[in-house]
Every structure is written in structure tokens, then in C-alpha cells.
């Protein structure tokens, strides 16, 4: 018995030990991608240059509106390399030089960079100086050599620069800023040593400068007046002819500048097109020998003959986009053109010498959620039968990028996701009774097999193949991507609105797109020329009818940039992605207030404030008005006029007194105002608490058994102002003339609860408000470092509720309603700490019940997300905390906040161009879901206090089962043995 029991005990202990060793809290290498996903995007493509060598990888280099330069594989659309420039480093030109460098011109023509084509390493960078501001033009001539150096001509900041493409040296420069010429084009005729710089002076002169490209010497300067005046547009038709319109847009003007001699040739538009009403628009496509004009929705191609005669070649309707010309074999050139028709897009490639012939004509079925084609780039290749084949890269209305070849979509990229404006989450549908879980999930055998594999892995018996299988099983777990609600609330839909006006529903499992919708209300139309999306709100979140009703979201946008522009609203079903209802051109929308009331169908009431400070109630039902009227006197809101430096509080007054009776419209009145002195303060940041935040307890027990009551109010506003002098870039103001003042304001009464000045500090300020504290980040000019400060606010009026006798007798005021009109007795505590990084975004983790301790999620300047425990930003930290304080979790005071490399949420990944962090509580109290967006997307689960309420994901149930079985078996075996032994003893 002894040997057997010892063996069993040993085995069990070994098992226990191994399973204990498995429990760990930090992220290991093989856990990457288990709970997180990362997606890389580039944004809407502005320009594309193909690089298709005869052998090797074929690629296209693109520049985008998110200031990304990327090299994409033409075969599958994957990113070969990508460089994200800063947000103020706008790319204005891109080209390939010497067949190995990608040349980009950015920052208004002041920075020229060369990137190595295969791997995207930066080869050289040139800062171009200039005194003026102008159009920036990049021209990389293929055969312009000076002393064996290929030249790049750049016009930027009012000067022309010639730059060596080998090392980026500026060979010469010529300043045009003094000439007050508005340069339109740089022309470099092939084979010549001269370049022409052409442009307008005022609206009535045309100037040509002939320049020697070898040394930048000005050879000739001609100027000629034009009586009709120019419209400002200009199009280069050939190397000596420029086309423009006169100021009335009724005449086409050809300007020839052969050898610097200017000749005008005017043709009235009516001569070409007959009598038509519309105003012509020149389309900016570079086509040799001819040009295209858009008139009354049709595109007309006009050839310029040698003598300056204009000849209409073709008239094409429904043209969406025209590509530039590309050269195909034997000196011919071709261009592509895309038309829309009956749900398809038609791609046509025409040779330039004969526009009636088509080199290619294809029709491609297109997903109607992509909208119309915005841009097309054509590239040719040699087919297997030695004929010319064409592929086209098209940019759609929703910013997606597609490659078309042989009448099919080869690949597509959802690059609209690089410009997310707002995010909300939605629960997934509840698992219905009709669907058997077992059918959808794996069967028992698979389940057991999986666990046996896991067990093998745990016991280190797994072979390399098994390890790979285990890893794949963990990563591709079917559980994660199911389209139903899960018990822990990890599976959700992230509904995101992009700048293109498209709505995507992303699954939190792997970030796959569940549905997408190009919002009809946010598309360009006759009534709405420049639609912009603003925000998404939860419109309906069914709890009682969760089985048979779908949640929906409200999307708010407006037609135009100004706040007076009419608003558009649409309501979209969160499960199906169908638009349920939409309202266009309602009233202007300045502010959207989701009210904490819902009607009988659980639609949330929203109050939309227009530019005249009127409130409009939605949904427009009488039931909603009834609910609203009940709470009429309890509704307050505030508005911030950042330019004026005024914050105002408003309350409702009564129905609008307009001509038409509108029972959903309400007048407002100002009930308070705060006027910041314009000479010393300028509002730079305002932050409020999140409406959805849950606070677990108001009381906070501090070290010496004292209770402090958090001042918890949903109506607190944090405002940061800086001195106007210090509102510029860091370094433009001295510490003496710059200060930062922070306020905590009650938005019902306008009461300033706390006001504090940081001298010698300046913005930008990033802040987050949660529970009773606010944390903000700014720059300290005196210490030359970034700082983070915390303000905690405590309620003193409840502080004397510590007497047990009082509590027993009910003499406490804990249950009395709080009114903002009572004079608050608050105390604030604050502390500042140095923080190394500058910050792009800051947020705090939210959990379901608010019990779990909080972490700050800081989007750092290097596009990573750092999780910083809130305990580090405790104003009560002291140099030598007492034993009790230590037990409470107070960390000894330090001057700087620690940056622990392991606490990067994004581990080794970067969320390029990080713009925002969104946290959503899961149903499991310990866990929160964090979604970070920028050019890239990143999603992960976080457990700020570790997962204390659940077993880890890779907990081996099989191991537990086997242990139990083994234990039971051992009990039986030992019992039988002991029986036997006893019997033996008894028989002795």
C-alpha cells in the first residue's frame, strides 16, 4: 500500500504542480493574438505609381490622405512596406526615380524624401527652403542628366529647386517669390536643356520663364497680358501648350509658349459644343495632345491639332473617373476611363491616337455598398499571347481600393477603416432556442481531442506538430467569431463610422467586417454637397425584448463644415446593417444629448440642439414628448464657445414660437455663463465623465479607517485654459508668459468647484474624467518635461456620516437626494507627476460594475498604448507611506510616473496614426475591452486587476477531469488493497 499511495500522491502532486506552474498573469509570446487583433490600413489613395518590372515583385506605390506612403503587392494587395508621416506632413507628390527610389514631396513642398523601393528605408531627405507659399509641384524627368546625375525638379514655397536624385543635394535653386507669379506648371521638354516655368500674374497676365536646367540660369522671361482674364485653372496639353478658361468660363484659351513666345488662341465654347447651358470644368488628367472637359454631366474629349485647332473626339456619358496616360508598346499611349451603369462598372482603355477604338472593355459587378468610383489608375502588362493587357487600380467612394484585372476584382482593401470618426458597440443577438449549440460547435470528440492535445502540451509531451496544432486551435477558436452573445460579454459588434460616410460592423473576435453600409444620407447629392459624419449614438438597446428586437444606432451628420449647415440623421439596425429610417436636412445640429429616458420600445430619447439654441426631441412620437414633459424642468445642458472663451448653461423654456406649431421643438434660456478673460485665458480642452460609467461605491475607506466620500456627479465638466501666448507650439512662449488653468465646473448651476493654475505650463492638454477624479497631461515649460496631474474631488457634506449611532437612528443624509442647488462642500486633492511621453489620446478602463481597479490607457507619441495603473496617479502618495497606507495600496511618492515595458497593451505592435481609444465593459467584471483606432486598428481584452473571476482561457479541463478520475480510481484501488490487507491480517 505504501508504495502505491506514495506513487499516487507523487503523481497528483506533480499534476498539481504542473497545473499551478501554468497559471501566469503576464502576456507570453504565444499569447499574442489570442485576445487581440491588429489590422493595418493606409487610407484613401491620392496618387499611385506602378512599378512592374519584368521579373520580381510587382507593386504599386501609393500616397494617401492619411499621409501614408505604402508599397502594395499587386498580386494580393498586401502591404510590403508602409511609412506614416505626421499629420501636418501632407504629401503633395509621389514618383519613382532611377527605378529604385520612391520620391515624395510633402509639407507644402518643403520636404523631399527618397525611400528605397524594395524595403521602404529612407535613403535621403532634403529640406527645401523658400520664402513664399505656392502650389507644390514635383517632376521627375526620366532622361534629364547633368554630370551623370539624374535631376528632380521641385517647385515649392515659391522657388524652383533642382535636386540630385542620388543623394538629395540641392544643385541650384531659383526664387520666384518676388515675381508674384502664381506658378501653374513646370514643363521640361524631353531632350532639351531648358525648363519652362509658367504661371499667371494676377488674373490677366501670363508669364513664361525659360530656365537652363544645368545651372538654373534664367534664359528668357516673357509676359503677355490677356484681356479676358483667366479662370485660374490650367491644364498642360503638350509640352508647349497650356489650356485654360477665361474668367467668364465661356472661352477656351490655348496658350502656346514655344521657345518662350506667348501666343493666345481663344475658342468660344459654343463653337465647339453648340449652345449648351452648363459651365465647363477642365478635368485634371494629363493626356497628351488632347484634354477632357466636363459639361452637363458628360465628358468631352477634345484634341488639339498642330495649328491650335480644337477638334471634338468623343463624348462619353456617366464617366466616373479618367486615368492619366500610360505608354504602351511602340510609343503609343493609352488611358483608362470608368463608367457606371446598371449596377456594374465599365472599364475602358483607349489609345490616345484613336479614341474611337477600345483596347479593352470590361464590365465588373460591383458591391453597391462601395458607391461610385473616385479615381482610377491604369497599368499595362504583356499577356501570355504577347498582346497588351491592362489592370486598373480604382478608389471607390467609401475609400476602398480595388485592383481590377481580366474583368474581375483581384483584391480589395477596406481602407476607409483608416479614417474612423466615431465608435459605438452593440451586443450580438442572443442565441436562439431553435439553433442547437452542439451543431454549431464542435462535437464532443473534437472537444476531447482538443483537450488531450492541450494536456499533452501541458505535460510537455507534445511534438512540434502538436504544438503548432495547439497554437492554431487557440488562435482560430471557433468560439471567438460566433455571431451570438456569449456568457462573458467578450463578443460584441464594434460599429464604426468612417470619414467617407460608411458604417462598418466589426466583430470583436478577429475584427472581421460583419456588415457595411454606405449611408445614403452621407453621400454627396444635389441637396447635400459636402456631407460630413459627426457621431454615432445608441438609439435603441433592447433589454426586455432582446429576443425579438434588434438594437439600432443613430448616425448624426451635417451637410457642410459650418455648424449652421442642415443636419442629417439616420437610424441603422445594428444586426443587419439596414437603414431603418433617415431624415435629411432637418435643422442644424450643434450638440446631441442622449437623455437617460427610454420609451416603451426602449428607444432612447435624444435632444438635438441647433445653432439657434433650440432643442429638438427625437424620436418624434407623442409618447416621447410625454416622457420629456415629465422631466422638463430637470433638463440642463451647457455649450462651450471655445473661440469666444464663454461657457454657457441652458435650460428649457417652452415650445418653439415659430409660425408652424412643432411640439418637438423647445426654446432654451441661458441660466449661467462663465466668461474667461480673453487676454489671459483660452479654452483648449473640455472633458466630461462618460455617461455609461458605473461607480461601485461612493465611499472610500482610507488608511486610518476614515471614510471619504467621492463627489460623484454626472454634471461635472473639466475645462483647461491656457494663456493665449502659450497656446502655440511648445517653445514659442516663455514660462513667464504661459500658464494653464484648470476648472471643475458643475454644469447645472455653473458653479466653479475647483480652480487651479499651473504656472509655466502649456498645452496641448489631454484629459480623462472618471468617477471623482480627472487626470490631465500637459507640458511644463520650467521643467522642460511633460507632466500629468490628478485632481480628486471629495464630498465633505457627507463626511460626518461616520457615527454609527447616527446611522442606526437614520440621522444620516446618505439617502437624501442630491441637488446641484445645494452649496457643495467639497475638498480637492491634487498632485503632479512627470511623464516622459507626449500623448495622443487618453482613456480609462470601464468595467461592468466598477469594482475592478482602473487603469489609464495612454496613447503615446510612438503610437502605442500604455496601461498605467490609476494608483500611480493618486494624490495621496507620500514619500514614506505608513504601514496602513501601504496596505491600502499607496505607492511611495516618486517624481515621475513609471513606464514599465511590460505594461504596453499593444505589446510589440504599433497603431499607426493613433487617434482614439475606446473602452467597453465586458459582462465579466474583471475584464474590459479596449479598441484603439488610427490608421491601424487594434483591439484587446484587458483585466486591470487580473482575471480574478474566471479561469484562464487555456485552463485544461481535461487535466482537471483526469485528476478527478485518477483520484477516484486511487481511492478505490487503495480501498480494495486495504480491505485485502485487513483480511489477510485477520486470517493470520
Amino acid at each position: 500500500m505504501g508504495v502505491a499511495s506514495m506513487a499516487i500522491r507523487g503523481f497528483l502532486l506533480l499534476l498539481l504542480f504542473l497545473s499551478a506552474a501554468h497559471l501566469s498573469f503576464s502576456l507570453y509570446e504565444d499569447q499574442v493574438g489570442l485576445m487581440d487583433w491588429h489590422q493595418q490600413y493606409i487610407g484613401k489613395v491620392k496618387e499611385a505609381v506602378f512599378h512592374t518590372p519584368k521579373s520580381g515583385r510587382r507593386r504599386v506605390v501609393v500616397s494617401t490622405e492619411e499621409n501614408v506612403i505604402a508599397s502594395l503587392d499587386l498580386r494580393h494587395g498586401g502591404i510590403i512596406w508602409r511609412r506614416v508621416l505626421g499629420s501636418n506632413d501632407v504629401i503633395s507628390g509621389i514618383d519613382i526615380a532611377l527605378g529604385k527610389y520612391v520620391i515624395t514631396l510633402s509639407s507644402d513642398g518643403s520636404i523631399l524624401r527618397a525611400w528605397n523601393l524594395p524595403d521602404g528605408q529612407m535613403v535621403w531627405e532634403s529640406f527645401l527652403e523658400g520664402s513664399g507659399s505656392s502650389k507644390s509641384l514635383l517632376s521627375v524627368p526620366t532622361s534629364l542628366k547633368i554630370d551623370k546625375e539624374n535631376l528632380i525638379l521641385v517647385f515649392g514655397k515659391g522657388s524652383l529647386h533642382a535636386i540630385s536624385s542620388i543623394d538629395g543635394d540641392v544643385l541650384w535653386e531659383k526664387d520666384f517669390a518676388v515675381e508674384s507669379v502664381e506658378v501653374q506648371q513646370i514643363v521640361q521638354p524631353i531632350g532639351g536643356d531648358v525648363a519652362y516655368v509658367v504661371g499667371f500674374v494676377g488674373s490677366s497676365h501670363f508669364d513664361v520663364y525659360q530656365i537652363n536646367v544645368r545651372n538654373g540660369e534664367l534664359l528668357k522671361h516673357n509676359s503677355a497680358p490677356f484681356s479676358g482674364g483667366f479662370s485660374g485653372e490650367a491644364l498642360l496639353v503638350s509640352s508647349e501648350i497650356l489650356l485654360t478658361l477665361d474668367s467668364t468660363r465661356s472661352k477656351l484659351v490655348l496658350v502656346s509658349f514655344q521657345d518662350g513666345e506667348i501666343n493666345y488662341q481663344q475658342t468660344p465654347i459654343s463653337d465647339i459644343f453648340g449652345d449648351s447651358l452648363g459651365t465647363p470644368v477642365l478635368l485634371p488628367s494629363k493626356l497628351p495632345g488632347f484634354f477632357s472637359v466636363k459639361l452637363n454631366g458628360a465628358v468631352i474629349f477634345i484634341r488639339v491639332t498642330g495649328e491650335g485647332k480644337l477638334e471634338v473626339l468623343d463624348k462619353v456619358n456617366n464617366v466616373a473617373a479618367i486615368s492619366g496616360a500610360i505608354s504602351i508598346s511602340d510609343g503609343q499611349q493609352a488611358f483608362g476611363l470608368v463608367q457606371h451603369g446598371d449596377g456594374k462598372i465599365h472599364l475602358t482603355v483607349k489609345p490616345t491616337h484613336d479614341s474611337s477604338a477600345d483596347l479593352l472593355k470590361e464590365s465588373i459587378d460591383m458591391d453597391n455598398q462601395r458607391g461610385v468610383v473616385h479615381k482610377v489608375f491604369v497599368n499595362n502588362y504583356i499577356r501570355t499571347d504577347r498582346s497588351n493587357g491592362f489592370r486598373a487600380l480604382i478608389v471607390m467612394e467609401d475609400d476602398s481600393l480595388l485592383l481590377l484585372q481580366q474583368g474581375a476584382v483581384v483584391w480589395s482593401r477596406e481602407d476607409g477603416l483608416a479614417s474612423i470618426i466615431d465608435v459605438v458597440t452593440s451586443e450580438l443577438p442572443v442565441e436562439k432556442v431553435g439553433v442547437s449549440v452542439a451543431k454549431v460547435e464542435q462535437n464532443l470528440f473534437d472537444w476531447l481531442k482538443g483537450h488531450i492535445l492541450k494536456l499533452k502540451g501541458t505535460l510537455m509531451l507534445a511534438s512540434a506538430a502538436d504544438v503548432a496544432a495547439i497554437q492554431e486551435m487557440r488562435l482560430k477558436s471557433f468560439e471567438k467569431s460566433k455571431l451570438t452573445r456569449d456568457h462573458n460579454g467578450f463578443r460584441k459588434l464594434l460599429i464604426v463610422l468612417t470619414r467617407a460616410g460608411k458604417l462598418f460592423a466589426l466583430h470583436t473576435g478577429y475584427g472581421q467586417v460583419v456588415w457595411s453600409l454606405l449611408l445614403p444620407t452621407l453621400r454627396k447629392s444635389e441637396t447635400c454637397k459636402y456631407p460630413t459624419g459627426l457621431n454615432i449614438y445608441q438609439w435603441q438597446v433592447p433589454h426586455h425584448h432582446a429576443m425579438d428586437e434588434n438594437p439600432s444606432v443613430l448616425i448624426v451628420g451635417r451637410c457642410g463644415q459650418s455648424s449652421e449647415a442642415p443636419g442629417v440623421l439616420s437610424i441603422v439596425d445594428a444586426y443587419t446593417g439596414k437603414e431603418i429610417n433617415s431624415m435629411a436636412a432637418v435643422h442644424s445640429i450643434v450638440q446631441v444629448i442622449p437623455l437617460p429616458f427610454t420609451d416603451s420600445t426602449e428607444q432612447r430619447l435624444h435632444l438635438l440642439i441647433d445653432a439657434n439654441q433650440r432643442g429638438h426631441l427625437y424620436p418624434r412620437t407623442s409618447e416621447a414628448v410625454d416622457i420629456f414633459q415629465r422631466e422638463f424642468t430637470n433638463i440642463y445642458w451647457y455649450s462651450v464657445e471655445a473661440d469666444n472663451g464663454i461657457i454657457k448653461g441652458h435650460a428649457l423654456k417652452g415650445n418653439c414660437n415659430q409660425e408652424a406649431v412643432d411640439s418637438y421643438c423647445f426654446e432654451s434660456k441661458d441660466i449661467w455663463s462663465i466668461v474667461f478673460p480673453s487676454d489671459s485665458e483660452k479654452i483648449i480642452a473640455t472633458v466630461t465623465r462618460k455617461l455609461s460609467e458605473v461607480v461601485h461605491t461612493q465611499a472610500k475607506v482610507i488608511a486610518d479607517s476614515e471614510v471619504m466620500y467621492k463627489y460623484i456627479s454626472k454634471n461635472l465638466l473639466f475645462v483647461a485654459t491656457v494663456a493665449p501666448k502659450g497656446s502655440g507650439e511648445i517653445g514659442t512662449a516663455s514660462p513667464e508668459e504661459s500658464w494653464l488653468t484648470v476648472y471643475l465646473i458643475d454644469t447645472v448651476t455653473g458653479r466653479i468647484l475647483h480652480r487651479m493654475t499651473h504656472h509655466g505650463s502649456q498645452g496641448p492638454v489631454h484629459a480623462v474624467f472618471s468617477e471623482n477624479w480627472v487626470v490631465y497631461h500637459y507640458f511644463n515649460l520650467r521643467a522642460h518635461r511633460y507632466e500629468m496631474s490628478v485632481i480628486e474631488i471629495y464630498d465633505q457634506s457627507r463626511a460626518d456620516n461616520k457615527d454609527v449611532l447616527k446611522l442606526v437612528l437614520g440621522k444620516h443624509n446618505l439617502t437624501s437626494p442630491i441637488s446641484s442647488y445645494s452649496r457643495p462642500e467639497v475638498v480637492t486633492k491634487s498632485q503632479s507627476y512627470y511623464f516622459t511621453y507626449s500623448v495622443k489620446a487618453i482613456d480609462v478602463t470601464l468595467t461592468a460594475k466598477g469594482i475592478t481597479s482602473k487603469q489609464l490607457l495612454i496613447g503615446t507619441i510612438n503610437d502605442q498604448v500604455l496601461a498605467l495603473d490609476k494608483r500611480f496617479l493618486d494624490p495621496r502618495r507620500s514619500l514614506n507611506p505608513t504601514q496602513e497606507e501601504k496596505e491600502e495600496g499607496i505607492i511611495p511618492l516618486t517624481d515621475a510616473l513609471p513606464i514599465i515595458p511590460q505594461s504596453y497593451v499593444t505589446h510589440n505592435l504599433k497603431v499607426e496614426g493613433l487617434r482614439g481609444i475606446v473602452t467597453v465593459p465586458a459582462k465579466l467584471e474583471s475584464t474590459t475591452l479596449a479598441f484603439t483606432y488610427g490608421v491601424d486598428l487594434f483591439f484587446t481584452q484587458l483585466a486591470p486587476s487580473r482575471t480574478y473571476d474566471s479561469l484562464t482561457d487555456d485552463f485544461s479541463y481535461a487535466l482537471l477531469l483526469i485528476t478527478i478520475v485518477a483520484l477516484i480510481a486511487a481511492i478505490f484501488v487503495t480501498w480494495v488493497w486495504s480491505e485485502k490487507k485487513e483480511l489477510k491480517e485477520k486470517w493470520r
Binding site: G2, V3, M6, L595, P596, L607, N634, I635, Y636, W637, N644, I646, A651, I671, S673, I674, V675, P677, S680, L691, K714, N715, T741, V742, T747, V748, T749, G750, R751, I752, R755, M756, T757, H758, N780, S789, S797, G810, K811, T815, S816, P817, S819, S820, Y821, S822, R823, S830, Q831, S832, Y833, L879, I891, L893, T894, D895, A896, P898, I900, E985
Partner: protein, 312 residues
């Protein structure tokens, strides 16, 4: 978005509340005094912290024809040319009506050597309500509407850019008389905001109550911005002492005891040892039982099981 909401409240709580509120009022009424308390700023403490009491001014309203503050003016010994006396008007409005004068604030403007100007010695004289105003106010009380006040945002050239407005539900003011409390946030010669309300609590739901006396008890507080605490700066020596936590390193966990460290090895070891001992004893017993039992006899007798066997 802002909402002031209430939770339900039992009537007996309300009663207690009313009692306590009344108690509060009586207490407040008991210590009314005419004495003007002195600003701490007058002693030259620049940007000094404002606690609640030092600059709380207590003024009784002057009789209906408002005469400027006379009785309580005290002569100060401060530098005469750096001080200038200044006055600004308080306006009030009933509900949505237009603003009309309601009182006068007078203060001294102190000019500092470095050019900054601050307000000190704020005094307030409140015009008592006229009969018409009383009616209007009673109407406000009935409708639970707002009583609004405003001050110019700039003292030197009123109204400055705009007036700063504050309002309170009229039902919050009546106590014994009409109790009001002003907090004026200033920045040099500018008034950023005025917070107006009752000096104590204003429990929700607000009860309709006409004031006993149409008499204002005004309390005014002048507030300037506080200086934010600086980030702690450690000298090098101090860093040396607490250095290991200074750079954000993880503090090494305290040394654990031998048992705490190695219990997982010690327990199985103990078990093995115990097993081994039992086994050894069993072996010894078996060995003793058969070939030569004499020597072990006394020990063997004491073992229950074997003795039972013997007995059989």
C-alpha cells in the same frame, strides 16, 4: 448634458430634513454679525490660499433707499496710491424678465508692484425688494422658476465682453429671510464667473415656502485661482535613499521565509519520509512477527491489531 435628478424620499426623512434645515438656519441666524472680516490678501499674501472663512463678508441689507456702504467702512493703513475704490452693479431678473439693478458691490483695487491688480475688501449693499419685485418673486416661488443675477465680466469697463450670469431656483433662497451666497471668481480685474445660490442645502424636491421677512442675508466670497502643487522634485541625495523606486523599477518582493519558499518541495518530502517510516515499521513488524518475535514482544503487544490477531 445635465440633469438634476432625485431619488424617492420617504416623508419621515423629509421631516427630519426640514427639522435639521431649520436647526441649521437658526444656527446661522444666531451668529449673524456685522463685523467685516479682513481679507488675507491685505496682508500682502499674494495668491494666498482662500479658505472659507477669511474673506467671507457678511452684510445686512441697507434700507430701501440704498445708500452706499457707510457704517462699516474701516480705515485701512494700506498704501493710498496703489489702492483705488471701485464699484460695480449687481443686476437681477425674475424668470425671463429683463435685468434690473439689485445692488452694488464696492471693492478696493490693489495694484501690485509687478503690475498685477487684484480686488480686495469686497463689500456688498443689497437693494431690498420693492413691492412689485416681491410679487414677482412670489410668482417665481410658485412656479419653481429661476431667479437670475448678473455681474459685469470686467470691473473697470463694465460690462466687459459680456455679463456673467448665474441663476438659482427661487425656492432655494427663502429661509427665515432670503439667504443668498455669492462666490465671485476673479482674475485680476476680470470676473470669470459668479456662483449664486443658497448658503446651505437646497433639498430636492423643493418646497414652496414664502420668506418670513423680505430681507436679504448676503454672504459674499471672493475667489482667486489656486496655485497647483508642483511635481515633487527629488534631489540627488534623496534619490539615492529611495533610489530603487525612483526610476519606475519594480520593487523586489520582500524575502520570504524558508517555509513559504519551499513548501511545495517540503510537503511531498514530508509525505515520502512519512511513507518510508510507515513502510519501514511495517517491514520491521513483518520481520519481527515471524522469525524472532521475542525481542519485539513488548512493543508488538501494544499494537492493537496484532494483539487482536494474537487473541484470536
Amino acid at each position: 448634458m445635465a440633469l438634476s435628478r432625485s431619488s424617492s424620499q420617504s416623508s419621515h426623512r423629509r421631516l427630519i430634513f426640514v427639522i435639521s434645515a431649520v436647526l441649521c438656519i437658526t444656527v446661522a441666524a444666531a451668529f449673524q454679525s456685522d463685523e467685516l472680516l479682513v481679507d488675507d490678501e491685505e496682508f500682502g499674501l499674494e495668491g494666498g490660499l482662500h479658505t472659507k472663512s477669511p474673506d467671507l463678508t457678511f452684510t445686512r441689507p441697507t434700507p430701501p433707499p440704498p445708500s452706499t456702504t457707510a457704517s462699516t467702512t474701516r480705515k485701512r493703513f494700506s498704501d493710498p496710491d496703489s489702492d483705488s475704490k471701485i464699484q460695480f452693479q449687481l443686476h437681477h431678473a425674475f424668470g425671463d424678465s429683463d435685468f434690473s439693478p439689485a445692488g452694488t458691490f464696492s471693492a478696493r483695487l490693489k495694484t501690485w508692484n509687478h503690475g498685477g491688480q487684484t480686488l480686495t475688501k469686497l463689500r456688498f449693499s443689497r437693494n431690498a425688494f420693492t413691492e412689485e419685485e416681491k410679487e414677482k418673486f412670489a410668482l417665481l416661488l410658485k412656479g419653481d422658476d429661476f431667479y437670475r443675477i448678473r455681474l459685469p465680466s470686467s470691473i473697470l469697463n463694465p460690462p466687459g465682453r459680456d455679463y456673467v450670469i448665474s441663476s438659482v431656483k427661487a425656492r432655494c433662497l427663502p429661509r427665515e429671510g432670503l439667504d443668498e451666497h455669492f462666490v465671485i471668481h476673479t482674475d485680476g480685474i476680470n470676473i470669470l464667473a459668479v456662483n449664486y445660490g443658497s448658503p446651505g442645502a437646497c433639498p430636492y424636491p423643493r418646497q414652496m415656502k414664502l420668506p418670513g421677512k423680505w430681507f436679504f442675508n448676503s454672504h459674499t466670497v471672493l475667489k482667486n485661482s489656486e496655485q497647483a502643487p508642483r511635481a515633487p522634485v527629488f534631489a540627488e541625495e534623496i534619490l539615492g535613499v529611495g533610489g530603487e523606486v525612483g526610476e519606475g523599477e519594480i520593487v523586489p518582493p520582500p524575502e520570504r521565509s524558508f517555509w513559504a519558499k519551499y513548501w511545495m518541495y517540503l510537503i511531498p518530502l514530508g509525505l515520502i519520509v512519512m511513507n518510508a517510516i510507515t513502510q519501514a515499521m511495517n517491514m520491521a513488524e513483518e520481520g519481527a512477527g515471524q522469525p524472532a518475535g521475542q525481542a519485539q514482544q513488548p512493543a508488538a503487544v501494544q499494537r492493537g491489531s496484532s494483539s487482536a490477531v494474537r487473541r484470536r
